[in-house]
């Protein structure tokens, strides 16, 4: 017999039950750390990954020859410490590096690490010359690795635990660069795994030597790693780490507030103070990553240095950093990455001067009746970006005051980085690059004329700067290197205005109060083997 009232009461009762049931959920027993990653995870082949966000995950499973001590938040730059190489020597002229491979190290699949394995790995991403590729040479990985591998002349295995790298030119930062490239960093992967799963299979079945080993990957959702008990070094403190993929920052913060996430990177600037007020911890630190605007020097309008100088003086970096991105960024002045040895915090770029900027534009033939349109591709989100949309809006507003109408083209991350391989095309005048490394060599790669368009996207070519860069990256004398880079800064940023450094990333990372030993170092990523949970 159908009774309307009874039916509704029954339904309401059912709904109440439905809603209260979830409160019976039991928490997991072992120590699991849940960390957010602010980018898509397209796989875990250490030679192919290309973002800081992924790097944080990769370094739990893989190791390089030499790493840096990221448990020290103050060291600037972080100190080099042995990893798979228990010691190394650099020849006095910095053209030869000898690595002594640690004995007794095993991959997660049980196979051993020795000099031949390291050699195999090198040859997966490097070839001596065209046509001299090893069978395991993998083009997808070689592209990124060429950042440093172009400098390698030869590699020779000396004995079972010694391998020597011969460089084409003096390269004092070579050892650090191997590790810090991010997109093409040199890790040691298991040749047996590549033999078993194929070149592309390694991305889905990662096998390294790190303190954690791969458990499972749910594409678009999570990757789970657990402590590797056969690790050669001190064991990790937590039992497992779950890395969750988030492209929606608001969702990430919401999940963190609910206690569903333990550590979240790239906290949106507006949330930093609010999270701190609510008792959460938010760490910030000066990191190598910076936002700098690359200018298309082949563009007819931008060929005029007055226009470029006007743009540099019209962008109000201080206000942008202090008011819009409070706590999340600082104004950047130098094209030398913060956190790299030759970085000089005292260097200043052209000061903000709207009137002077307008005057320069008028001189160049522009004015309220003769405005110019420029295009800027902008990533909506992605590894290394801070708050790309508001920043783009702020720049647009700044430039519109000096008669430039900036059209912002929003792309998602994947589309954005695929633009880079060909350099800036005629349809784009400005490129907001989120990049930086803890080496001075980075600056050489983005400005040297030989690096067009591989990492020099704006087609900058200045023989004087080339010479200075080559010298600055070849001299083992840090003071000399610093002085040379100072000259580079002066020419590139203030005279030629080939790039406009805008912001330095402070990498705001939030973590729960019960997360212990978390360290945010002067680097674009952090380590987790020392992190513990105390509930």
């Amino acid at each position: 017999m159908l009774n309307f009232k009874r039916f509704t009461m029954g339904l309401l009762f059912g709904l109440v039950l439905f809603v209260t049931l979830p409160w019976t959920v039991q928490a997991a027993e072992d120590k699991t750390l849940v960390v957010a990653i602010e980018a898509n995870m397209p796989g875990f082949d250490a030679h192919v990954i290309c973002s800081y966000a992924l790097y944080r995950e990769i370094i739990t499973m893989y190791e390089p020859l030499v790493t840096t001590d990221l448990t020290d938040a103050d060291a600037l730059p972080p100190k080099l410490v042995p990893a798979l190489a228990e010691r190394w020597e650099i020849s006095p002229d910095a053209t030869e590096v000898t690595f002594h491979i640690r004995k007794g190290v095993k991959f997660h699949d049980g196979t051993e690490v020795d000099a031949d394995v390291v050699d195999w790995n090198f040859r997966r991403v490097w070839r001596k010359g065209e046509g001299e590729e090893a069978p395991q040479y993998y083009t997808a990985a070689a592209g990124g690795a060429s950042f440093w591998s172009d400098s390698v002349k030869d590699i020779r295995v000396i004995d079972k635990h010694t391998i020597k790298v011969f460089l084409k030119h003096p390269f004092p930062e070579f050892v650090r660069q191997l590790y810090a490239t991010t997109c093409g960093s040199f890790f040691v992967v298991s040749p047996a795994a590549v033999a078993k799963y194929g070149q592309e299979g390694l991305a889905k079945n990662p096998v390294g030597t790190g303190p954690f080993k791969f458990v499972e990957w749910v594409p678009g959702d999570r990757i789970v790693v657990e402590r590797f008990d056969g690790y050669w070094g001190p064991p990790a403190k937590v039992d497992r780490i779950v890395f969750r993929e988030f492209t929606n920052m608001a969702a990430m913060v919401a999940g963190f507030r609910r206690g569903e996430l333990d550590i979240i990177p790239a906290v949106p600037p507006d949330n930093i103070a609010l999270l701190r007020d609510d008792g959460f911890k938010v760490a910030t630190n000066l990191v190598p990553n910076m936002i700098y605007l690359v200018l298309n020097l082949k563009d007819p309008v931008l060929k005029d240095v007055r226009v470029r100088r006007a743009m540099a003086m019209a962008i109000d970096k201080e206000t942008l950093a202090n008011k819009l991105l409070t706590d999340a960024a600082e104004a950047a002045h130098s094209i030398v990455s913060p956190g790299s040895p030759p970085y000089d915090p005292e260097f200043r770029s052209l000061p903000y001067d709207l009137e002077k900027a307008k005057a320069l534009m008028r001189e160049a033939g522009y004015g309220p009746d003769k405005r110019v349109t420029m295009h800027m591709p902008n990533p909506a989100s992605g590894s290394g970006t801070i708050a790309p949309m508001p920043i783009a809006m702020a720049i647009q507003s700044n430039l519109s005051k000096i008669f430039i109408d900036l059209k912002v083209e929003t792309l998602e991350w994947y589309g954005f980085i695929s633009l880079l391989s060909r350099g800036l095309q005629p349809d784009a005048q400005i490129l907001p690059m989120p990049w930086g490394m803890s080496t001075g060599y980075f600056t050489r790669q983005v400005l040297h004329s030989k690096k067009q368009p591989f990492s020099n996207y704006g087609w900058y070519s200045n023989p004087e700067v080339d010479r200075l860069l080559d010298e600055a990256t070849s001299t083992p004398d840090l003071a000399k290197s610093k002085a040379l880079f100072a000259q580079v800064n002066q020419i590139v940023v203030n005279e030629d205005v080939a790039v406009i450094p805008a912001l330095i990333d402070l990498s705001p990372t939030a973590y729960q109060p019960y997360v212990k030993n978390f360290v945010l170092p002067h680097e674009n990523w952090f380590v987790l083997h020392q992190v513990d949970i105390e509930k």
Partner: protein, 316 residues
């Protein structure tokens, strides 16, 4: 009846083919070189070659289409660049997730719609009726993404009752109570528009039937109110409601896409959106085809159920 089924089944085949043509044409009209635009500098020539051979991108259009249809008929949806795996394996779990969300949403919509519609009809003309009708109007025309955000604001952020995103908690193993907890808000958001329409139809169907002659006749015969309801009223009311519920699938699917994006629910709508952003051709095509095909099939089923319930509707 059997002939009707056969006729209708045959009729949808050209529609399905037309769907594949449209999706194929749309995807291939995408501006820029498809391979270059989706491929970063990290992709090997082997992978590029694989994409090109899958499409036969250098071949004329009809050959490419034939090739695609061939793959499709053998169940191969292609390889997704952005996910580095087969499209099928990426989308299969997504379909399941959407089914959970859409199914729950539909159930909630039918329940809420029936209750609301009948309650309004029983109290026709009163403030209760006007209140329910106004509420349904607002909920039915509001954009689903906005409704979702309002639900999040009130029930998740301010009252802290439910999580705001995802299908499961990032922590711990997926389990049923966790799923249900995450399901409430998105299901409500998805159910909103269909519920409003079902309520409207239920209300008017109810009003029509109540005044109808056979009801008066049955009451006059002395049948108790409940027998009148279940025996006569319900059967006549059911038909237009089922019809309209079938039509709600369009809203359901549209709503689901937005709700999945707002809540980050890993269903097929979410995948479609991500694939469009990533300019991943094969994934976009796969997701579009699955959604369109599912839509056609479920409409077809609704038609059949309808014909079953009321033979008068068979004649078109």
């Amino acid at each position: 009846m059997g002939r009707y089924v056969l006729r209708r089944s045959l009729a949808i085949i050209p529609v399905l083919i037309g769907v594949t043509l449209l999706v194929f044409a749309a995807i291939h009209a995408l501006p820029g070189s498809k391979v270059l635009s989706i491929v970063g500098f990290q992709v090997s020539p082997e992978m590029v070659a694989r994409i090109e051979s899958y499409y036969g991108l250098d071949q004329p259009m009809h050959v490419q289409y034939a090739r695609y249809m061939g793959h499709l008929l053998s169940g191969d949806l292609g390889y997704s660049i952005s996910r580095k795996s087969q499209v099928g394996s990426v989308l299969a779990p997504a379909v399941a997730n959407t089914a959970i969300l859409a199914g729950t949403g539909l159930v909630l919509a039918v329940l809420a719609g029936l209750i609301g519609g009948f309650a309004a009809a029983f109290h026709a003309g009163s403030p209760v009726d006007r209140g329910i009708t106004s509420l349904m109007l607002i909920v039915g025309t509001a954009p689903p993404f906005w409704l979702a955000l309002v639900l999040i604001l009130v029930l998740s952020i301010q009252l802290e009752l439910f999580p705001a995103t995802g299908m499961y908690s990032p922590r711990g193993e997926p389990n049923l109570p966790d799923l249900l907890h995450h399901l409430v808000l998105p299901a409500l958001a998805v159910a909103a528009q269909p519920a409003a329409i079902i309520a409207k139809v239920a209300r008017s169907a109810m009003l029509e039937v109540r005044g109808a002659e056979f009801v008066t006749a049955a009451r006059a015969k002395g049948l108790p109110r409940s027998r009148v309801f279940s025996g006569h009223v319900l059967r006549n009311v059911l038909s237009p409601i089922v019809t309209i519920t079938g039509l709600q699938l369009g809203y359901l699917v549209g709503g689901v896409i937005f709700v999945e994006v707002v809540f980050g629910w890993p269903g097929i709508g979410f995948q479609l959106f991500q694939s469009i952003l990533a300019r991943d051709i094969t994934l976009t095509m796969g997701a579009s085809l699955i959604i369109a095909f599912a839509f056609v099939f479920v409409n077809f089923l609704a038609d059949l159920i309808n014909a079953l319930l009321d033979p008068r509707h068979e004649v078109q």
